[in-house]
Symmetry: C2
Subunit: 343 residues, 2 copies
């Protein structure tokens, strides 16, 4: 992926974003009260479990990069939006901390998750504090866009909660009880909403009106859905050497990802076969058969077409906010990057 021009551009852009936003992000996290700060510092990879400094990465910074790139695309100075970029990254990391507790995920960014190290109570509390910190950063911001940004971020967090709740509910339902529409709605709430919010905040800090901010929001949402579709495809057909996960890990976990739900909803014999397989334990042979069934039922093609369609919609929305798309090169490079990334 980083072999393409957009890929190299995006990688450089993310690197620059981290350099720009990291000091604000880190200063904010370090302002937390001691006990809560320690969990947060660990989560971001800045400290080991024993509190000694670590040189870990705090994530790719895709959302902060979208904030700054959206501001630039509308002719704004990205510098005043750095605080908003840090706020979005804090909100994102609040969701990671709580999602890991809820999903009982043992690892994150190749390290034990915070709840496994500090216990569930401390991980819940650190997530709560990180959410409050995100909204505090905007509340303390004297930029004229800060009030509208606060509104959008708070509304977005409520949507993220609804998405996470839907995700949990789907995993408990039988395969035929999850509709493709529900599943797309969940992905939009859980993944698209925050990418859209990041773009809208950047627009607001560049002085955009409500209509431009809404178009930027829609761009981020559609790109986010494309990203989720590609991510789900990688979860089934991705190269384990690149994804860092075993072959078919999502299928082995009975995950109701978008290609799977599309296959289940296809009304084809292959879809019925998949439903039967998903009703039982998924050993290597079952994973292999399920992988082929998703493909034959049309789940793979559907997801690829949807992803392309969503990216086309994203670019269309973007052109409403930035009529001369040449000014939006960074945003397009980021969108390309997230939809082709490897894990």
């Amino acid at each position: 992926m980083s072999d393409t021009v957009e890929g190299r551009e995006a990688v450089a852009l993310l690197e620059r974003t981290r350099t720009t936003v990291h000091p604000q992000l880190r200063a904010s996290v370090e302002s937390l009260p001691g006990s809560v700060r320690r969990v947060a510092m660990y989560h971001f990879g800045w400290e080991h479990a024993d509190g000694t400094p670590a040189a870990g990465s705090a994530g790719k910074a895709i959302r902060p990069a979208l904030v700054l790139a959206a501001a630039r695309a509308l002719g704004g100075d990205p510098q005043p939006a750095v605080r908003a970029a840090a706020a979005v990254e804090l909100a994102h990391n609040f969701t990671l901390l709580h999602d890991d507790v809820i999903d009982e995920d043992p690892t994150r960014r190749h390290r034990p998750t915070a709840w496994t190290v500090f216990g569930t109570p401390d991980a819940i509390i650190a997530g709560d504090a990180m959410l409050a910190l995100a909204l505090r950063l905007l509340a303390e911001d004297r930029h004229p866009a800060a009030a509208a940004a606060s509104e959008r971020l708070a509304a977005c967090v409520i949507e993220l909660c609804a998405g996470q709740q839907a995700d949990c509910a789907f995993e408990e339902r039988a395969p035929h009880e999850v509709s493709l529409e529900d599943c797309l709605g969940m992905a939009m709430a859980k993944t698209g909403a925050l990418l859209g919010c990041a773009c809208a905040l950047g627009a607001l800090y560049a002085g955009a009106d409500e209509e431009e901010a809404a178009a930027m929001d829609a761009f981020g949402r559609e790109a986010g859905l494309a990203f989720q579709l590609i991510d789900d495809l990688i979860g089934i057909w991705g190269d384990p050497a690149r994804t860092g996960k075993p072959v078919g890990a999502d299928l082995a976990a009975h995950k109701k990802s978008l290609p799977v739900v599309a296959a289940l909803a296809s009304g084809t014999p292959a879809g019925a076969e998949l439903a039967e397989l998903y009703g039982g334990p998924m050993d290597a042979a079952a994973v292999s058969r399920a992988t082929a069934a998703v493909d034959r039922a049309g789940g793979r093609d559907w997801a690829q077409l949807q992803a392309a369609d969503r990216m086309a919609r994203a670019v269309h929305e973007l052109s409403r906010a930035v009529p001369d798309l040449a000014a939006a090169g960074d945003l397009l490079a980021l969108a390309e990057f997230v939809t082709r990334r490897t894990r």
Copy 2:
């Protein structure tokens, strides 16, 4: 307690507050996305677990009453502060939802807690959404005080998190490892901070300057600490018929409440006896001996004197914000009420 003039006044005031703030609070909760709304509606006692309407109480509304009374004490119109009052109540209920998960408490307001009904994931998510909703209410508010109110509420939530984290940490430590100073600091963060924030927000909505808001904040904090001290005394010596809890429930649970920590830190033989009792299982005989030991070690007297001292400090702080205390009758009635309430 409701036999006193202040008591009757406070009860009437709380009733009026619920009538005023309830529509805003309920409309906000009903604006949440369906799945999250359901948990929140249950938590507030407005719906049964199956989603049918319930006539339950949503709590005493002490914090919203403080917001409105603080606005009135400074000569302000309480009506524009109703939104802020609802925001404070939402923030309070966010802490209840998460604290119940963290402490694994089975009941709240005489009903099964949300996590026991909907599961831990849904209760965590509903709490998250309620916190975001609280800050969203203020972000959407066009009142000139809204920005400063957002800052204070977000900062307060971070302090609440630190308080809850300290509480969890104390419960895991050996009795002699918890100092009285740590314990007072924890109570200030966990209980005082939000009562202080409620008073400060009311002041801001009445047009108070930063100094008046800070004095109101200090009033609420000191009153909050007095409340906690009285609450801890009731937890040991309260009449079970009035508290609804068995005799000595806090001691039976090895709770490191303020009178207990004061007794442990007393350096008296009775304090040593208490430490030894707390090292073992607390049956009825042990509870009875521990109760006497806290008393003999001076924990009871200390807590009563501290509570009186804190109330004196509260009134002194209040007089800095409201030089003619006659205007602050409602606030004083509420402070009297919370420090003498039965559970």
